[in-house]
């Protein structure tokens, strides 16, 4: 696919960094509702629209982002920047992600008293939360299809168990992540031994 004009290594450094910055800045500025909202949107931009990251690799990056401390949106943006343009890329996407809340909250901390009781503002944000739910669950359906497409038994089982563990049992996310990683390692190592023996 060398004819594609938009691959990261074919852009000038300036264009590349500007695309990284403007993408993460826009996503961060328009995404209400925290990490689980912005992460599917980042996937949409960098996997579907730009085609700079593969679907499977994106899931890996999100998994790494979740296993580190700090906001998931910040961690994911650092990983995307690093993957595309190393440490400089990571700093650019980090800046793009933290600037919108920094600017907006600094302004809001001055005017909060005036808008907090506006019924119009409340209604607008309530309506936007429905839109947020649509976007997240659309992304979940797409990602779940990737998991089911592996045609193995274990991934769907892990997916269902992890869902019960978090939604029903409200287990700590760190525990769920460590357990699923352990299941993955053990099953992979055991399977490869069996293959070697047969």
């Amino acid at each position: 696919m060398t004819t594609e004009p938009n691959k990261p290594n074919q852009l000038s450094r300036g264009r590349l960094f500007w695309t990284l910055f403007s993408s993460t800045f826009t996503l961060s500025a328009f995404t209400i509702g925290g990490g689980y909202v912005i992460v599917p949107l980042m996937r949409k931009t960098f996997v579907d629209k730009l085609g700079w990251i593969e679907e499977k690799e994106m899931l890996d990056l999100i998994a790494i982002a979740q296993s580190a401390p700090g906001p998931i949106a910040v961690n994911t943006s650092i990983l995307i920047g690093y993957k595309i343009a190393s440490v400089t890329g990571a700093l650019v996407t980090l800046l793009g992600t933290i600037l919108p809340p920094l600017i907006m909250l600094t302004l809001l901390s001055y005017v909060y008293g005036a808008i907090k009781d506006s019924a119009m503002v409340k209604t607008l944000f309530y309506g936007m939360s429905i839109g947020v739910a649509i976007v997240i669950l659309d992304a979940v359906v797409t990602m779940a299809r990737t998991v089911l497409a592996t045609k193995k038994i274990l991934p769907p089982i892990i997916m269902i168990l992890a869902f019960i563990a978090t939604s029903v049992l409200h287990l700590n996310i760190v525990i769920i992540i460590v357990s699923c990683a352990a299941i993955g390692v053990i099953s992979t190592l055991v399977l490869s031994k069996e293959e070697a023996a047969s």
Binding site: S28, I32, L59, A63, A68, Y82, G184
Partner: protein
Amino acid sequence: MILLQLLWSFIQIGLFSFGGGYAALPLIQQQVVHVHEWLTVQEFADVLTISQMTPGPIALNAASFVGTRMAGIPGAIIATVGNVLPSLVIVLFLAWIYFRFRTLKAMKGILFGLRPAVVALIASAGLSILFLALFGAQRLPDSIEQVSWYAIGVFLAGFVLMRIRKINPIHVILGSGILTVIASLVGVPI
């Protein structure tokens, strides 16, 4: 001095908030309300309300809000930088390990187990936001009266539209917000 205190407090919040988003809440409250008394409990609740309505992770929102209150714009910048510093160092280290060792069998195994878990965690968070919009609580409703039929209609229509045609997510979010304001103005029960 206040800048150093802000920096150190938000480094600690960034370092120990595993699991993102709401996992940071008790840490922020401890540092900002109890250890330093920078905000009252009421002001802290106000910060949470703002965070619900504005973009960005809750810890970053709190960093900017508290930083501005205590030391103006430099305070907001210092608190924000402190908050993301631990993430930057740890995530870059993990990224380096991932891209170097991802062909190893053990690393493949870890990711094999994590991928489906990630989908489940996002599904769970998405459902709690959906329930909050449809039923006014982050769980299934006790009675049918708590159900917002308006929200169910908008959700189903939007979801089907998004599956059929690839609409820009930001348009879906803004569209739902504007539609709801119009609906409330013309008197639709929402």
